[in-house]
């Protein structure tokens, strides 16, 4: 897509691909720093931002690799900028160690993973949903992150903004977990006027610099964040640290307090974070749980099933992490069967199974060139109604 202006928010109706919509979403959210290393199928995000960042007074850096990219993003975040990187599976693997650093130092940042087929370099140009568990568990230690799964080009725009808002609210790395189809697909996107877009900025300290403790949380378990250069004493270390930000590596009390808070600031706020879309779930006996591009095949299948009198429904988690546990448990009380199609060998289905006592869960795997067709999901619905 060509742009010839320095507007941050390109208000209007556009025909663009998912990657470009993601890049425009980042700009609309106030992102002023992108560091990345090109990789199919996420390259268009970097390419587009390499043009757009200079137009809006932001910074674009092509780094030497993905380890450097996430490191630069974390550094930019410490200085107060909204920062993002974008990659695919192989690069996402390289980023994992520093994602832990972002979690530990509570650096708000957005990491976009346009999932292709893996493991390893796998299928560069083809879709997958194989990084679902890696997004949650990829770095060592105990932690929580937030991950969102868009299903359309419009959502690539909307959910990238949402990812920044959540990241800033909870001071946590937030991931946009899209698949190659959504990233490369071209569709209509409506970008609203800037004043209609909800933007959240990180909390700033309301104490004097002398009294500021960079890791002292408020009641919501999130500490206000001073940034380098703002006159406050701000520390960042990957080591276990106390409220001052100083390493305290041999105290079980400090470790417990810190790590539990890092988990609980997300877990205790899960009801506020979690978003799902439901379609004809109310009276459904067979409920499909699907996300990303697969959810669109599932929606089509559910509509077809309804035409033939089958009581089918769709629950689409928009928030993958934290997983919508309560909502899944609720639908399991009414559904006879839950069908989970995924472009992997069984990842989110484990979370579904963990939360549905007694209701049988049918997993539908698809690997390779295309996502499940509506017909494949419809057949699974028919077999299980």
């Amino acid at each position: 897509m060509k742009t010839e202006n320095n507007r941050t928010v390109l208000t209007g109706t556009h025909f663009m691909n998912g990657d470009i919509a993601c890049a425009e979403g980042a700009l609309a959210a106030g992102c002023k720093f992108f560091a990345g290393y090109p990789i199919t199928p996420a390259t268009e995000i970097a390419e587009h931002l390499s043009k757009r960042m200079p137009e809006v007074g932001g910074i674009y850096i092509q780094m030497e690799d993905e380890i450097g990219s996430i490191a630069a993003v974390i550094g930019a975040s410490y200085t107060g900028l909204k920062a993002m990187t974008a990659t695919s599976g192989p690069g996402f693997s390289l980023m994992q160690e520093n994602i832990g650093l972002a979690v530990m130092t509570e650096a708000p940042c957005v990491i976009v993973d346009i999932m292709r087929g893996g493991p390893s370099t796998g299928q560069p140009t083809l879709p997958g949903q194989q990084d679902i568990m890696q997004a949650k568990w990829g770095s060592h230690g105990d932690y929580e992150i937030i991950a969102l799964a868009p299903s359309s080009v419009q959502e690539m725009f909307d959910l990238t903004i949402e990812a920044f808002n959540l990241s800033e609210t909870y001071r946590v790395p937030t991931m946009v977990l899209a698949d190659e189809v959504v990233g490369h697909m071209w569709e209509k996107v409506v970008i609203p006027p800037a004043e209609k877009i909800r933007i959240v900025n990180r909390k700033k300290p309301n104490t004097s610099p002398e009294k500021y403790l960079p890791y002292m949380p408020d009641d919501d378990l999130v500490p206000p964040m001073a940034c380098f250069g703002e006159g406050f004493s701000f520390h960042a270390t990957g080591l276990t640290h106390d409220e001052h930000g100083y390493p305290k590596t041999s105290s079980s009390g400090v470790q417990q307090k810190l790590v539990k808070r890092l988990c609980e600031k997300i877990r205790k706020n899960a009801d506020k974070i979690v978003k799902v879309r439901e379609f004809m779930v109310d009276d459904a006996e067979v409920i499909v749980v699907a996300y990303g591009i697969v959810a669109r095949a599932a929606l089509s299948a559910v509509k077809e099933a309804r035409k033939t009198g089958i009581k089918a429904g769709l629950l689409r988690p928009i928030t993958i992490w934290p997983f919508p546990e309560k909502l899944i448990a609720k639908i399991a009380e009414q559904a006879k069967k839950i069908v989970v199609p995924e472009m992997n060998c069984g990842q989110l289905v484990r979370e579904v199974e963990r939360n549905v006592q007694g209701t049988s869960v049918v997993f539908l795997s698809k690997l390779g060139e295309d996502p499940h067709t509506p017909m494949e999901i419809l057949e699974a619905i028919r077999r299980n109604c």
């Binding site: 025909f15 140009t125 697909m185 071209w186 569709e187 669109r296 017909m375």
Partner: protein, 181 residues
Amino acid sequence: MRVEVRFAGFGGQGIIKSGIITAAAACIYSGKNAVQTQSYGPESRGGACKSEVVISEEEIDFPKVTSPDVLIVMSQHAYNEYAEKVTPGGTIILDPDMIPHEKKLKNVKIFRVPATKIAEELGRKIIANIVMLGAFSAVTRIVDKESLKKSVKTNVPKGTEELNLTAFEKGYQYGEKLLKS
């Protein structure tokens, strides 16, 4: 009604671009819903490549093509792969110079457009895809001519608009001629 169009050839022929131009024409300039998806190999240039467009008055749930109403095909390899997957009663638009070996197909309408040759006559082989788009517009009427022309104009590199519109017009005229014959 849902209409599915598949463009196929090899990487570098503008296959993906053709899909984007068509979908944008339907969506932005004709007020319909449209979505374009693509599939290509890691080698990008020279590898197998397809680009798919779904056009509908209604909201499009599944964006991929499962049973194409129209196949626009520009390589033998892609022809071999996709010719038999066209919906019964559907349409194939092919470049006969790129596809010397045709199968015996039943229940499809076939239009042979020497797009690469026409493009070469215009001085740029690379605009063969736009010649095909012109022919597609003339023989199928799925997307109207003016919308497609507007979309061609906004989606090709600056400075090449006139050349591309000429290519489109040549393809359109060739398509109309085929319809009458």
